[in-house]
């Protein structure tokens, strides 16, 4: 009989919950960003985690956002 869950599954769930919580407040996954830069733009500069965080914070509340919902 297959196991219902493993610790691996649990840590995946945890990872996604963390990602979901950060995405809710407009901070996308940093690791995904780094991987994307490495693969698609090799050799080009990559923001540090701190720069990335500040960049996203400014973007979320900057021009072009439609505000919260009713």
């Amino acid at each position: 009989m297959a196991r219902l869950f493993s610790f691996n599954d649990l840590s995946t769930v945890g990872k996604y919950l963390g990602q979901a919580a950060r995405q809710m407040v407009g901070v996308p996954d940093y690791a995904t960003y780094v991987r994307h830069r490495r693969i698609t733009h090799p050799g080009l500069p990559i923001m540090t985690e701190l720069e990335f965080f500040r960049n996203r914070q400014d973007a979320r509340y900057g021009a072009g956002r439609s505000g919260g919902c009713c």
Partner: protein
């Protein structure tokens, strides 16, 4: 055989849903358990999702999983990121859920729980979820562009401009009405005012913490913030009873209005990391946590509804807001059934994060079903409290008087038996001095939530804590929406004014930003102020304006989707959007017309203005005005409200015209004319 097997479970769910709904609809006299409503709603959502949203995905939109989405094509790891569908669902839901689905149903409960519940369920399935899903699809096929842009490219320059100005006016009204809810909740409540003021300090501490001490640790700082928040609620109880501090945090509605206006201005020019971002973390996590907690508590407690299914106020004479069932229930419950504001979210960040078109169904349609469930919970929460208490909280002082004796007398005469003692005791239970005339939804919801939560955790002794927890939960995300909205409004205004005065367009210019922010705050501040001094309590005039404008925007979004379907040569399926769009047009035009021209001064803005004008001509001062100057003010305010309603009617009618023209033009063409981004295949593995 296979076919039978495949659909058997769904047939069963349908039967459960229909049976529960029947029980809800036909129950008269005997008390109804809240679980009937919840079961009915959830079963119908499931069936609608399984069949109707699949029909829309497969037949109407013809979703193509092989087509690369903007997130895939333009992946930059920042704005465009293919995101796991569950993560994106959370993001989208957090963005669309707000005060709307909580407040609307509470106000609608004055007609009984049945009319509102039916509209929430039917509305979401046929209108709200369809709109969110379709707009998400349309925007995804067009690089994730915004609603205003989409209207411009599919319908033309002029309708695009009308939609843009309309969106700005809606924004102003939403901000004013949201702020009014906070004012109504905090007036004469030192406990509430202290905790809300404390959130500003807590958020600033969090801001400094996540900027300098431990940058980027969102989870960590939020946990610290939540602990401080709970501490401030506990401390608030002490503050309220303190001989010096208590009166220091006691303000009347006008004082709070000025404080909110000044605060709104300062908050939206401060750097975002200091106040806005950290409070956004707090409010988002608290919002999601409380919604999940309320759902669990409701199933656990399984409360009985005490509000009748239908009250006598379906005839339009209700105390919280005036106007008959049609059209007013359909604009009072906006979010939760259908909300135009979601069209802005569905054409905002979400399409830029969608990893595959096929997931638009779960996120667009499914996300809105979830929001509708929040509205159902709000309706239940408002209906579990004593109807007498409900009406005491939601009727203006002009109707029930300003002390518990007169309030209990008037409300008992309506047939909702209540004694002055119960009203006093309820106020005492929740740690307030009075609960009378607190229309606006938030306090009523807080009383209901306090009753439900205290049955799970803490017992009656915890009622006051839970009440202020609920007030804080709403005030927190309302204030966040106010800051974020003022900021967004400022950029919109700079963009709009920039078309005439190029210097206004510079978003990095201090002068231009300050002018735009000032104009924006002044606009919603003025409407808020007139709501606070309104003779009928403010909610009566502002909430219908908000409802009309929000449903109008939904109508515009659905008309856009209709045009897109015609241009895609799929007009045989266009009934999917024409049906809800027509209903929204009928409701907003009827409601708009009545709000302007109805002869009853409780409904018609002009009638109320004329009533006060007539009194001025005779030299009489009518309550609540205390001077001739205030009389003139009320006349002007109501004329202004009438002008706003006329503006919304103009937007709807002109958009209808442009929609029909665009559809007829598309019909004459024999090829597809929609402006989609050209097809590009998904990369082999992504």
């Amino acid at each position: 055989m296979n076919l039978v097997y495949k659909h058997a479970l769904w047939a069963l769910i349908t039967v459960i849903g229909v049976f529960s709904l029947g029980t809800v609809a036909l129950s008269r006299g005997e008390t109804l358990n809240a679980l009937w409503i919840i079961t009915a709603a959830v079963s119908i959502y499931l069936v609608a999702y399984r069949y109707y949203s699949l029909y829309i995905a497969d037949k109407v939109m013809q979703i193509d999983p092989t087509r690369a989405t903007p997130a895939v094509r333009r992946n930059d790891g920042l704005d465009f990121v293919p995101t796991n569908k569950y993560v994106l669902f959370g993001h989208h839901f957090a963005a669309i859920a707000g005060a709307g689905p909580l407040v609307g149903p509470v106000l609608a409960a004055q007609m009984g729980y049945l009319p509102g519940t039916l509209w929430i369920i039917v509305g979401v399935v046929l209108a709200g979820a369809v709109q969110d899903f379709m707009v998400l699809f349309v925007s995804t096929r067009r690089d994730g562009r915004s609603l205003g842009d989409l209207v411009k490219s599919e319908l033309g320059m002029v309708p695009g401009m009308i939609a843009l100005i309309g969106t700005f006016v809606i924004m102003v009204i939403i901000l004013a009405v949201l702020a009014l809810i906070v004012v109504k909740a905090l007036a004469a409540s030192p406990w509430g005012t202290f905790t809300v003021a404390a959130t500003i300090v807590i958020a600033m501490f969090m801001g400094v913490y996540s900027r300098y001490l431990r940058p980027g640790r969102v989870g960590e700082v939020s946990v610290i913030g939540l602990v401080l928040l709970i501490a401030s609620i506990v401390a608030g109880g002490q503050v309220a009873e303190h001989a010096v501090l208590g009166p220091m945090f006691t303000f009347d509605a006008k004082q709070l209005t000025w404080m909110l206006i000044i605060y709104g201005f300062i908050a939206s020019v401060l750097p975002v990391w200091l106040l806005l971002a950290p409070r956004d973390y707090l409010s988002t996590f608290l919002k999601i946590g409380t919604i999940v907690g309320l759902a669990l508590a409701m199933v656990f407690v399984a409360p009985d509804l005490r509000m009748p299914a239908v009250t006598q106020f379906v005839d339009g004479t209700g105390p919280a807001w005036s106007g008959s069932l049609f059209p007013f229930i359909f604009i009072t419950i906006a979010c939760g059934a259908v909300s135009g504001f979601h069209a802005l979210i569905s054409s905002g960040t979400t399409p830029k994060l969608l990893d595959n078109e096929k997931n638009a169904r779960m996120i667009g349609y499914g996300g809105m079903l979830m929001e509708s469930f929040v509205a159902i919970m709000a309706m239940v929460t408002a209906s579990v409290i004593d109807p007498g208490v409900y009406f005491a909280m939601n009727s203006p002082a002009a109707v029930i008087g300003s002390d518990v004796q007169s309030a209990a007398l008037v409300i008992s005469q309506w047939g909702f038996m209540i004694t002055p003692d119960v009203l006093l005791q309820t106020a005492k239970d929740v740690g307030e001095t009075t609960i009378l005339s607190r229309a606006g939804g938030a306090p009523t919801l807080a009383v209901g939530m306090a009753q439900i939560f205290s049955q799970v955790l803490g017992g009656p002794g915890m009622m006051a804590f839970w009440y202020h927890f609920a007030i804080l939960f709403e005030a927190l995300f309302i204030l966040t929406a106010c800051d974020a909205g003022t900021r967004a409004g400022r950029f919109m205004l700079q963009d709009l004014l920039g078309s005439f005065v190029p210097a206004m367009k510079k978003t990095d210019s201090w002068v231009a930003s300050l002018i735009a922010t000032f104009l924006c705050v002044a606009a919603w501040g003025y409407i808020l102020y007139q709501g606070v001094v309104d003779p009928l309590g403010g909610i009566n005039s502002l909430w219908p304006l908000f409802g009309i404008s929000n449903q109008m925007l939904a109508g515009v979004a659905l008309m856009l989707c209709t045009v897109v379907l015609f241009k895609m040569k799929r007009q045989q399926f266009a009934w999917v959007t024409i049906l809800p769009a027509s209903w929204l047009i009928i409701c907003t035009l009827t409601a708009g017309w009545q709000k302007v021209f109805d002869a009853n001064p409780k409904i018609g803005f002009l009638a109320l203005a004329n009533k006060f004008q007539a009194a001025i001509d005779q030299g009489v001062v009518l309550a609540p005005a205390k001077s001739m100057e205030q009389m003139h003010q009320i006349v002007f305010n109501n004329q202004l409200d009438a002008a706003l309603a006329v503006f919304f009617i103009f937007v709807v009618v002109s958009m209808m015209y442009y929609t029909v023209v665009a559809c007829l033009k598309a019909l004459k063409q024999d090829k597809v004319t929609s402006c989609e981004t050209p097809y590009q295949a998904m990369p082999a593995h992504g």
